[in-house]
Each structure stands twice: as structure tokens, then as C-alpha cells.
């Protein structure tokens, strides 16, 4: 049980990385990766929201199935996630101004992060239990944090390099991500020892 959870953690965070292999959450990945500081802020906010969203959508899904309206899944999930993000923002502002200051500006951006909805839908599709779903969402968000911080590191260096005019901005960012994705592909076929 524990080893299967551990392998789920490693596979979802590294091998099947949310950006590099699944293309979820590319917009904030490209948008908020100008410096390592903002990238890690965004990454932490995503971990926070994604785990909460997966816990809540687990029960929402159970409720939908119980009421025999499972086809309302997409609609229900996106509304729950949007409401959740708003609530987290308000609660953080009240109880932890320090954390709010660190994560605050990233929270509204997360509603449009397709990774949050995507991972919630995938967890349902894969029939995960509550614990598996929590581990899965935490690991995926951790993978996002790793990817965005690594990428921000590369991008900080990119500022000092000479880049052809037409490659500036998005093109060079995408190609850099492509090369990083190539590196992440090296994990494919790697066998876990447990």
C-alpha cells in the first residue's frame, strides 16, 4: 500500500510530469516563469489549491453519482474550483496575511489553470480513492513546481544570451521547454526498485 503510494508520487511528479509530458498548465508555466521567486510562489499556490480541489471534487463526484447526474461533472467541478479559489483567497487574507502576500496574486490566476480541473477529472477517470487522489494531486503539483522553478532558472540565464530577434519571447521559451521535455523523457522506461 505504502510502496504503491510512493511509486504514484514519483511517477506523477517526475516521470509523467504535468508540463513536460501532459501539457497541462502550460499558460502559467510560460507566463509566470520570469524569475525563480515568482515561479516558486506560483508553484506553492498550485500545490495548495490542487490538493484542496482534489479533496473537494472527490466528494462532489460522489454526490453527483449518488444523485445520478454524473454528466454534470465538468460544470460542477469548474464551479467548485472557481469558488474554492475565491474562498481560499478570502480565508488566507484573514488568517495568514504573510502567506496571502506570498501567494495572493497567483491565486486568481489559478482558476484558469487547466491543470487543476484536468487533474481533478483525471483522478475521477482513474478511479482513485481519496488517499490516492490526494497523493496524486500533491505529486502532480510538486512536478509543476519542479518544472516551473527549473524553467525559471534557465530563463533567468536566457536574459544574458544573444537571441535572434524573431526568437525572442514565446518562441525561445517554447523551444527551451521542448529541450527540457526531451530531458524528462529520459525517465521513460526507468524501473522503480520497489
Amino acid at each position: 500500500m505504502l510502496s504503491s503510494l510512493l511509486s504514484l508520487l514519483i511517477v506523477s511528479a517526475i516521470f509523467n510530469n504535468v508540463i513536460m509530458a501532459q501539457f497541462l498548465g502550460t499558460c502559467p508555466f510560460l507566463g509566470v516563469s520570469k524569475s525563480i521567486e515568482t515561479a516558486s510562489g506560483m508553484g506553492l499556490a498550485v500545490i495548495f489549491v490542487m490538493v484542496l480541489a482534489n479533496i473537494i471534487t472527490y466528494f462532489v463526484q460522489a454526490l453527483l453519482v449518488w444523485a445520478n447526474v454524473a454528466y454534470l461533472q465538468t460544470l460542477a467541478f469548474i464551479l467548485v474550483i472557481a469558488a474554492l479559489v475565491q474562498m481560499v483567497e478570502i480565508i488566507l487574507k484573514k488568517i495568514s496575511p504573510g502567506l496571502y502576500k506570498a501567494l495572493g496574486i497567483y491565486l486568481p490566476l489559478i482558476t484558469t489553470n487547466c491543470a487543476v480541473l484536468g487533474i481533478a477529472l483525471l483522478a475521477v477517470k482513474k478511479n482513485y480513492s481519496l488517499i490516492e487522489s490526494i497523493v496524486y494531486s500533491f505529486a502532480t503539483a510538486l512536478g509543476f513546481l519542479i518544472a516551473i522553478v527549473l524553467f525559471a532558472g534557465v530563463r533567468e540565464q536566457l536574459r544574458f544570451s544573444k537571441i535572434p530577434r524573431s526568437m525572442e519571447g514565446f518562441p525561445i521559451a517554447l523551444i527551451t521547454t521542448g529541450i527540457m521535455a526531451l530531458a524528462f523523457m529520459g525517465f521513460a522506461g526507468f524501473k522503480l526498485p520497489f
Binding site: 501539457f23 502550460t26 465538468t74 464551479l79 484558469t112 524573431s166 526568437m167 518562441p171 521542448g178
Partner: protein, 198 residues
């Protein structure tokens, strides 16, 4: 108010192309451009959702209070996405299998909410429908172009038809790195053309 369809089409496909000019909706672009067929299927689904949501949002634009407009738009969009999702699952099971999670994720596609907020919420019904159509065509055309390039480079085929029988297959192009690199180079090429023009 008369609408010049040709000008509108030019706006959707060239000057305000959602993928190449405004760079919105990266996730589905990267994920569903593995082949021309998948890309085209995704494009058509987005056109359907975009036209319907633009139409309904434009009809309701004077009824929805400004403060709750974003959640209201999302409900409208999610309804049509669910319809499209169920239709594809019923009639095109192989496409459903290939696009997978990215059909329900049309809900959070920035292009659709972007058009609702920027256009449909301020304009009458007919222009909004046309705006949805031309933006959808722009999205579909660019997505299909990317899909064709990746499919061609990896297997020499476009839409499943063999164009150039390569001796070796360049599998990388249909994998994740190929998606990023193809889109990056295409954007760079478009920037290059633009700099030549001016």
C-alpha cells in the same frame, strides 16, 4: 450594421489569430496537434462551443449583472462543452479516445472565455456568432497546420494519407518535445515574416 464576412475572416485567421498572434490556449494546442485528424477534430469541437457560447452570452448580455458575469459565462460555456463531450463520445469514439481529457478542458480554454468577455458581452447576437465562427476557424486552421506538420515530420503522412514514404520515422515529433519545438519554431517563423513586412 453590415458585416463584411471577408474582412472578419481575415481578422480571425490572420490579424487576430488566437494561436499565432494572441498566443492563447497553449495546452490544447500542444496536446492535440499530434496528428492532422486530431487537431481538426479538436478545432471543430472548439468552433461548435465558441459559436454557441458567443450566441447565448450575447443574448444574455443585458440580463447578466456585471459582477457575476464571469461565473455566468463559465456556466454557459460548460453546458455546451458537456453537450459536445457527450456527442463526441457517442458518435466519434476513436476521436474521443485520442482527445481524452482535453474535451472537457475546453471549459478553461482562454480563447472561449476571452471572446465572451472581449466581444460577445458587448455586441449583438449576429456579429457575436460570426466572431465565434471566424475565431474558431482561425484556431482550427492553425491547429490543423501544426498537426499536419507534426504528423508529416513523424511519419510522412497528413490526415493519415501517405505523402512522402520516409525510410525512418521521426517519432520525437509526435511526442511532447516535438510539440513545444514545432510551435516555438512556427511562432519564430511568423515573427520573422512580420519583421520583414515592416
Amino acid at each position: 450594421m453590415s458585416i463584411n464576412l471577408k474582412d472578419e475572416l481575415y481578422r480571425g485567421v490572420v490579424t487576430e489569430n488566437p494561436i499565432f498572434r494572441i498566443v492563447l490556449g497553449m495546452c490544447p494546442t500542444l496536446a492535440t496537434s499530434t496528428s492532422a485528424t486530431n487537431a481538426f477534430g479538436m478545432g471543430i469541437s472548439v468552433i461548435a462551443v465558441l459559436i454557441c457560447s458567443n450566441m447565448v452570452i450575447s443574448m444574455l448580455r443585458n440580463i447578466i449583472p456585471g459582477k457575476v458575469r464571469i461565473p455566468a459565462f463559465i456556466v454557459v460555456i460548460a453546458t455546451f462543452v458537456t453537450v459536445v463531450d457527450l456527442l463526441i463520445a457517442a458518435f466519434l469514439p476513436s476521436l474521443y479516445e485520442a482527445l481524452g481529457i482535453f474535451i472537457p478542458l475546453i471549459v478553461v480554454n482562454c480563447i472561449i472565455l476571452g471572446r465572451a468577455e472581449a466581444y460577445a458581452a458587448k455586441n449583438p447576437v449576429l456579429p457575436s456568432i460570426i466572431d465565434g465562427l471566424v475565431m474558431g476557424i482561425g484556431f482550427t486552421a492553425s491547429l490543423t497546420l501544426l498537426g499536419s506538420m507534426r504528423e508529416f515530420l513523424s511519419s510522412g503522412m497528413i490526415f493519415g494519407y501517405l505523402i512522402a514514404p520516409f525510410k525512418h520515422q521521426f517519432i520525437l515529433m509526435i511526442l511532447a518535445p516535438g510539440a513545444f519545438i514545432t510551435l516555438g519554431l512556427t511562432l519564430a517563423f511568423i515573427n520573422f515574416l512580420q519583421s520583414k513586412e515592416s
